[in-house]
């Protein structure tokens, strides 16, 4: 029997390892435009110890290991670019501790955001975590590995800013903990110990996140979404600055899309408002619409588009439906809020060039300290020409991000290379040293953040 297959079977059990083509096929793709990349093995460990044993074995055999969460980055970040073992972490989904008084939850990294949300609804409905804009099947660890963000980004920032502690299996197999848990305390804080933040945003190329302590935040009784609309995109930064100044919203997302037609060449700002009473909700609306935004309404250039709608996350995945064939991928970036008008205009131009209805979105992070701005491109999976158009549009958008002074978020390999080509040489060398030190055999998700 194949030596590696046999070793994997001994570690995780026969039911949780495969080298059968039909299963490898499933793991060879994600939902974006990346071409298929086949692994040689798939294994689904249950514990950090099993992960550790697999990694040690992989080092001996010099075989690549690619950690996989929900597989929803769309950018091919969990595709096995150099074959090897895909580690499907979704069996590591236990919720270990819910501490309501210290407002954190300790959870295995393969647990989905949907599972955590359901758990909190049931056991601590007055608390919530930040669920990203991805489908609920996205995993906690996967989202951290790409510096994700989602709900509560306006008041609290990136999801990686909401961490109280981490457990990581290093590329050489050691299991390490970071934060207060590292000194045997509860998992209530990541600070003030020396900063060892070497794992977030690395796409699993410096280690495998296996356990996480996430901060929980107050979950208000009423949650509704209001919409403010403007036509002139140059107004958006000022409207967002006004809204973040008044500080009454839980989340702020500006968006525009060619389809459905009502949204074409208009800019909607979804304003999530929460409160424990109707009076609190109305107080917040008064500050927002009657005071801060009233001048735009009076001048006829801004309008209340809707009030008290059910609160829902932005669903750019719907843009996949704008072309036959159901595909979509997007470039995300972290941008200054002031760049919104240019991001919109230039993005719409790229879309037009590639015959794709434009869809753009800017989620405010912090008090307008930045925004995650995304450009989505729909394509027909069954039409190679359509896929190529989307791929070209994505690459052009990566270039655009750099031109506009932004930073590509969760970049695909093309984008990673673009970023590294512009990176300060000393920073680049530091990245290389970190990677070489942690992963001397270069087995962890090779091809990602690979410094030449």
């Amino acid at each position: 029997m194949d030596k590696i297959y046999s070793a994997l079977t001994q570690i995780v059990g026969e039911d949780y390892v495969s080298n059968r083509p039909e299963e490898l096929f499933t793991y060879s793709k994600d939902l974006g435009t990346s071409p298929p990349q086949f692994p040689e093995y798939v294994a689904a460990p249950r514990t950090a110890e099993e992960v550790s044993r697999i990694v040690r074995m992989a080092n001996q055999e010099k075989v690549a290991v690619v950690p996989l969460g929900g597989g929803m980055t769309l950018a091919g970040l969990a595709l096995p670019l150099r074959g090897g073992i895909v580690l499907d972490l979704k069996r590591m989904d236990r919720i270990i501790e819910l501490n309501e008084k210290a407002r954190y939850v300790v959870i295995e990294a393969g647990a989905s955001h949907g599972k955590l949300t359901a758990h909190l609804h049931k056991h601590a409905p007055h608390l919530m975590h930040s669920e990203p804009g991805a489908p609920p099947a996205a995993t906690i660890g996967g989202n951290l590995a790409i510096h994700g963000q989602g709900d509560l980004a306006h008041p609290y920032g990136f999801n990686s800013d909401m961490l109280n502690g981490l457990e990581v299996v290093l590329p050489t197999g050691e299991i390490c903990r970071f934060g207060s848990c590292a000194i045997g305390c509860a998992w209530y804080t990541l600070h003030p110990l020396p900063d060892l933040g070497l794992f977030l945003g690395w796409n699993g190329s410096t280690g495998i996140i296996t356990k996480v302590s996430l901060r929980l935040f107050p979950c208000k009784k009423f949650r509704e979404m209001d919409i403010f609309v403007v036509e002139d995109e140059t107004l958006i930064p000022d409207v967002l600055f006004a809204l973040t100044h008044v500080g009454m919203a839980e989340d702020l997302v500006a968006w525009s899309s060619a389809i459905p037609p009502f949204a074409n060449e208009l800019h909607h700002i979804s304003i999530n408002i929460t409160g424990d009473s109707k009076e609190e909700m109305e107080f917040k609306r008064r500050q927002i619409f009657d005071i801060k935004l009233s001048k735009y309404i009076r001048d006829g250039v801004g309008a209340i588009g809707a009030v008290a709608q059910p609160s829902e996350r932005p669903q750019i995945s719907k843009s996949a439906d704008w072309k036959k064939g159901g595909g979509f991928e997007y470039v995300g970036s972290i941008m200054p809020v002031a760049a919104y008008p240019e991001c919109y205009r230039r993005g719409a131009e790229i879309s037009t060039r590639h015959d794709i209805p434009y869809t753009v979105l800017g989620r405010v992070i912090g008090a307008a300290h930045g925004m995650m701005f995304s450009w989505s491109y729909a394509f027909n999976r069954a039409d190679d020409r359509s896929v190529q158009h989307a791929r070209d549009a994505l690459h052009e958008t990566d270039d655009l991000v750099m031109e506009l002074g932004g930073t590509i978020w969760k970049p695909a390999v093309f984008g990673q290379q673009l970023l590294m080509s512009r990176m300060d040489p000393n920073t680049l060398q530091m990245m290389k040293k970190v990677k070489t030190m942690l992963d001397p055999n270069g087995i962890m998700n090779p091809g990602n953040w690979e410094v030449a």
């Binding site: 009502f262 208009l266 309404i297 309008a303 209340i304």
Partner: protein
Amino acid sequence: MFNLRFDENKCLACETHDCLTRCQYMAMDIPTAKAEMEKLIQGRESRVLHDCVTCYACEEYCPLGNHPFYLIVTRQEELDILPLPSPLIKRGVQMAIPFRGEPEIEPIAGRALNMGVFSMLVPHVQGRLFEDVTLMSTDSRKMFHYFCQLMYLHFGRTSVINERLEESIATIAAHGAREVIHFHDECYGTYASYAPAFGIDVPFKSVHLFEYLYERLGAMQDDIKPLNYKVAYQRPCSSRLSPDKHPFVDKLFDLIGVEHVQREFVDENALCCGSTIMGQRREGSRRFCLELQQKNIDDMKKAGAQLCVFNCPACMQTLGKPVADAGIMPIFMSDLCRLAIGEKSP
């Protein structure tokens, strides 16, 4: 292009100017109303163009059937004095652009029930009451082909209605139905009031939903069990375009055994649901809308209403939740009628 058939001589000879003096949102005596109306007739700026909340009521108040509201909206557009901020107008105009292909035109031999742009409300027109009709516009992807367009009266945009209405009429007419019952007052008002006022030909006979329900329930009298609820009715703006059909509300209530509670804001005094006022451009529109809604709901509660009956989906969407929060159950008229014959509403 179609133009409003407005008889200015009737207006100039009018002694009451009920259109403006009875307006619930503008305080005006007869001399002022006369002066403002003259400005409107001459195409000059008038405070009416700025202050109109577009509740449609003046269409009903006018004793001469001279379409003062259509005149106001026409002038708003001509003078570019628009009730809503421009992004909301653009959004509304774009909203009705069909983008999901052409509808399949199936021939309808008898009577049709036109859902207009409310295909998603098909569950509310099920059961024995609707056995005799064939539903039209049941696919929400294609429903904008059946859009009556009258919503643009709230936007100061008769030009959009006039540009698009003929196509909607052609789509409906293509089914070949003998009669078309309209689920929404707005559609009925379009084909029975607006189109004739602008000289737009409508090649099918329109029937108001309430008239149809009254006829059907009349044929099922033995099956009706009085519901014995106390009900309020949220009269929609577009009902003002067909005041001759409004009496069917009380006729239906009598038939199904519910008590239409005595209220201040009822019939010709009905208050707007606030849907369009919320986003209007005037200073304080949002607060005004909330106050209006509260006044309306307080009036329902004071009168002891257990249910609030809606026909307009926009009214239901705007006022349904606040009404429910106040302990009054919101319900569509079609569902209330189904309850009376022992059927469950969705």
